[in-house]
């Protein structure tokens, strides 16, 4: 994998669930982390990629990067903000 410029602390796959569970699953994974740690989210194209990054931002976390895997899935990198 290309150098991201940061270390990933945990990963979660949300390609097996639908909205709004996509967001809920991401949120639960973030709750396990400490402030400043980074979560990698594996998500589907379409509705998840259009909505999850926005919802995460609205929760106050920092979206660092979104990478298109080219196979209909994406990797989203989130830095946890707040406890």
């Amino acid at each position: 994998m290309a150098d991201l410029g940061f270390e990933v602390d945990d990963t979660v796959d949300i390609t097996d669930v639908n909205c709004p569970v996509t967001f809920v699953k991401t949120k639960v994974a973030l709750e396990e982390l400490d402030e400043g740690q980074i979560l990698q989210v594996h998500l589907n194209d379409g509705e998840p990629v259009q909505n999850v990054p926005r919802s995460i931002k609205e929760e106050g976390h920092e979206v660092l990067k979104l990478i298109d895997n080219g196979d209909g899935t994406f990797e989203l990198y989130i830095k946890k903000v707040g406890d």
Partner: protein, 288 residues
């Protein structure tokens, strides 16, 4: 003494099929009714009506089965609760609105204040025929702007902020108009394709869009015996002052050109749309 039905109708009392019985239309602005008003409405409906209200197709509230002899008592009871009668007949009708950007995540413009301002300027204004204003906060168009004689649709003019962008590409994905292209890390926006829906800005995870709210105005919609979709004349309107000038110009045009009982659409068909276009463009440019 003969009952003056025209005056009653103007004051919101709609004649029912039943003799000397009225459905009282109340004034509602932008679909907002306070809890206190609801209490007053409940009391009147219980005491003078049949204990129910009717919600109209345009966000109105009516209290059916009000007796002619109770009209003054009903008006007083409503006034105490901060409720006033609405209007019917040939004049500016209820200003309808969705909840707008104050409440709705998709909303591009503030709608509640705008509805009140339009109401203060125009509500009840005497015209050759009915005239309806409707405000919808975004392209989702929950309030069906183009059904109205004058429809206002909120939008966002967006511009990309390069140094906040992480090149995730979500904006290009959510754009339904194909207006966003990303090449070599640069976002370009095709203004001819952009419909001001704001999806790019809303979906952006890093707030890399600067947004400016504004209005798309449509004219001469109809959704009754005849159906016709309101049409836009001028481009995106960026300030309220210009919007009000445009509204003033449309009402002036209608008042001066319409025959009695002729809807805006048919006035325009008769006198020529180019004449309305001219009046609206002048207002847009601030020349009137």
């Amino acid at each position: 003494m003969a009952t003056d039905y025209a005056t009653l109708k103007k004051g919101g009392f709609m004649k029912q099929r039943q003799k000397d019985t009225f459905s009282l239309r109340l004034s509602v602005v932008g679909g907002q009714v306070t809890a206190q008003q609801l209490v007053a409405i409940t009391e009147v409906a219980n005491r003078f009506g049949k204990g129910y209200i009717h919600l109209t197709s345009r966000q109105g509230v009516e209290i059916p089965y009000i007796k002619l002899e109770d009209i003054d008592k009903v008006k007083d009871a409503l006034a105490e609760g901060g409720v006033s009668p609405g209007v019917c007949g040939p004049r500016v009708r209820t200003i309808t609105a969705c909840q707008g950007s104050e409440v709705c995540p998709n909303g591009c413009i503030e709608t509640e204040e705008l509805a009140k301002e339009l109401n203060d300027r125009y509500f009840g204004k005497e015209l050759p025929h009915k005239f309806k204003f409707g405000i919808t906060g975004c392209q989702n168009n929950c309030l069906k702007a183009e059904e109205n004689d004058l429809g206002i649709k909120g939008g966002l003019r967006v511009s990309w902020i390069e140094d906040k962008c992480i090149n995730c590409g979500v904006c290009a994905k959510v754009c339904r108009e194909g207006a966003i292209k990303i090449e070599d890390g640069k976002v370009s926006l095709d203004n001819d394709k952009c419909n001001y829906c704001g999806r790019c800005a809303f979906s952006c995870p890093t707030d890399a869009y600067d947004t400016k709210p504004g209005y798309l105005v449509s004219f001469a919609g109809l959704f009754g015996n005849k159906i016709s979709k309101g049409v836009e004349i001028v481009p995106f309107v960026e300030d309220k002052e210009t919007l009000f000038r445009i509204c003033d110009a449309a009402l002036k045009f209608f008042k001066e050109n319409a025959n009695p009982s002729e809807r805006f659409k048919f006035t325009i068909d008769r006198v020529g749309k180019e004449k309305l276009d001219e009046a609206i463009w002048e207002a847009y440019k601030g020349n009137n």
